[in-house]
């Protein structure tokens, strides 16, 4: 008996999907796996054929096959979403004509469907360096699907290495520098779970960089501070969190802090952490390749101070507080003034107090 009603229901559903429920209704439908509209089997009856392609006007081949297993293991497949929930314009057969001229154009059209369900993430990308590049006409800039994949989205959990590898697809040169850095080496060689990957500094969807924000450079110390000001985390590596205080106390850091507070939209004219330590290739301080190791420090200083000579780098104490042992000159100059200021000013105040007291007494006597 059921076997008789079943086809009827499917038939009704299909005809609704085909004729009675046009696009707008589907598009407005929330991401609810329980109302797929057109069943996936219907689409897969064609699209699971391996190697299906269609030629675009550019002559490029657009692959239109979908591996059902691949899709079923994706996050959307596992949760039972329907093809037509993303491909909202493909609810009918024959499908509407493609308007994309090239593969890239096709991708750029399709990824717009992501925002239907992932509005917040999409909105967030609007502030990203990728969106800025897109707006400037660079169609290579990454869109949702370039990073997340298409039918295999969320197929397997991303390791931190894989996350960096996502960026590598377009930013291979920077990725290679990162791999050599103290952070990258710890990630790849030691599987360190705490070192930053690309997104820890640049953000996830609202990925920013110096090309997006003029202020990126200026505020970059705050990115470093996310980890390097964390005492517990830094204790794991034996790194002092004092580095910020000593930086801010210095001419460079003082200027940068003032720019942050007063002229946040202006490019800093003083170096931040990355200008000395390196951007993607910061090394351990005892690495011979480190920009700030003693033998390389003069060259690093000379980037901004071209006339600097051999003594010049020693004017920077390397983030150390001056102590009697390390920098006795500074320590004792400081100590001298720590004594002489209170003594001098105290003496003045005592003398003035005596004079004031005398004047008050005199006035009282005059009244009596």
């Amino acid at each position: 008996m059921n076997r008789r009603i079943y086809p009827l229901l499917i038939g009704v559903a299909l005809s609704l999907a085909w004729f009675a429920v046009p696009l707008p209704v589907l598009a407005a439908a929330p991401a609810d796996a329980s109302e797929p509209g057109v069943p996936n089997e219907y689409c897969l009856s064609c699209h699971d054929t391996p190697g299906l392609t269609t030629e675009l006007p550019s002559g490029e081949q657009l692959y239109i096959s979908v591996d059902p297993i691949l899709f079923k293991t994706s996050i959307h497949g596992r949760r039972g979403y329907a093809c037509v929930q993303c491909h909202t314009d493909r609810t009918e057969y024959p499908h509407p004509e493609k308007t994309a001229q090239t593969l890239r154009e096709y991708s750029l059209q399709r990824y717009q469907f992501c925002k239907k369900c992932h509005a917040a993430e999409y909105e967030s990308t609007l502030d990203s360096t990728h969106q800025k590049a897109l707006d400037e006409g660079n169609s290579n800039a990454a869109i949702c699907t370039d990073c997340h994949g298409i039918h295999n989205i969320g197929g397997k959990p991303h390791s931190r290495r894989n996350k960096a590898a996502v960026c590598e697809k377009c930013h291979s040169e920077i990725y290679n520098r990162y791999k050599q850095s103290v952070h990258g080496a710890a990630l790849f060689d030691e599987s360190d779970p705490f070192v930053p990957t690309c997104i820890d500094c640049h953000g996830v969807h609202n990925i920013v960089g110096p090309s997006t924000q003029d202020s990126f450079h200026l505020f970059s110390p705050q990115i470093c501070a996310q980890c390097h000001a964390d005492e517990e985390l830094m204790a794991r590596y034996g790194i002092s969190t004092n580095v910020f205080d000593t930086y801010i106390a210095d001419f460079h850091g003082t200027t940068v802090v003032l720019f942050e507070k007063i002229a946040p939209d202006q490019e800093t004219n003083k170096p931040t952490c990355i200008d000395c330590h390196g951007v993607h290739d910061m090394r351990k301080v005892d690495d011979p390749e480190s920009h700030v190791i003693k033998k390389n420090l003069l060259a690093t200083c000379q980037k901004c101070h071209p006339d600097a000579t051999v003594n010049y780098p020693t004017s920077w104490l390397g983030h150390y507080e001056p102590s009697a042992e390390d920098a006795p000159l500074i320590y004792f100059v400081d100590l001298f003034y720590k004594i002489i200021i209170p003594v001098t000013i105290g003496g003045m105040l005592i003398f003035i107090a005596s004079d004031v007291g005398n004047k008050i007494l005199k006035k009282r006597r005059a009244k009596v």
Partner: protein, 384 residues
Amino acid sequence: MSSERKYLRFTVSDRIEHWVQMISFTTLGFTGLAQKYATSPVSIWFIALVGGVETVRILHRIAAIGLMLGTIYHLGAIGYKYYVKRSPITMLPTLKDVTNAWNTFLFNLGLKKEKPQQGRYTFDEKFEYWAFVWGTVIMGLTGFMLWNPITTSKFLPGVVIPAAKVAHSSEALLAVLAIIIWHFYHVHIKQLNKSMFTGYLTEQEMREDHLLELADIKAGVGPPPTDPKEVARRKKIFFPVYTIFAALMLTGVYFFVAGEETAIATVPPAENVEIYVPLTATPFPTPFPTATPIPIGNTWEDGIAAMFVIKCGACHVTTALGGLDLSSYQGALKGGISGAGIVPGNPDESLIIQLQSKGDHPGQFSPDELTKLIDWVAAGALER
């Protein structure tokens, strides 16, 4: 008393000198302390008001030039006063000033009946003058090091520069506090001494603070009258010497100000790296299955049934949409509500082939598959 005599204390040039040093010092104090305590809200407010830290630094340096020029003038002025005019050097501190200070303190405490009598410059004025001299020397030396760190580190160890910064900033605090506490108390609060602006002290004021000087004036004691010829001779020596001295000093100021280019104006890019270097020419991230042709034989059981399941199964195997049930050989022959699906030996009459040949049926066969299907039907649509 209102018709009392006034006594000239500061000449116009003295007063101008004071104005220059006062404006320079005040500017240096404000712009310097704002940098010393850069992260305090007051400093940030002040720096923003002035127009940013770079403006503050430029003002600080302009004021420093003002102070240096004022100092060079002052050295000339005292040189003239003491060499050419042979005025008594009244500003030199003596042991008497120490006892004067101590006795004034005791007087204030009521431990002495009389206030010590003092001359042209009282001990507190001398103290302030020499403190200013000391401060100017320290600030000038350390200021040079901070302004010219590269030149400094050519001759001295680098650590001298942060040490100079500590000294410069601490000495500044001392100087500003001394001005606010000592200077302001003595000439603004204790009594408003306007002589630095008007030039004159009243007899009452002279009596109060400079009794010995007043007595000297009244007694007509002054510098011995000099032969105008002698004065002219001294001038002939003084002016060339001072001109050379001032030229040297001004050269010094020039090197102070423009001796080195400490840093280039803008920070160079921290990294030169190509941003977009894709691993593949066109990023197209999904792996695509390649065609593995379905093995289609020439009987229902040898591939034709499998092809129907794959291509048509969603509607016509798991269900029987339109009455067409392709799950069995009989179902395929029988067809759906529109008529026979397969007519053995006659592909043109077979509805499935008719529909598929139009090319727009969901679950469309590939041309190859369609050919295989037609061949199978033409050959009699064998079941096995």
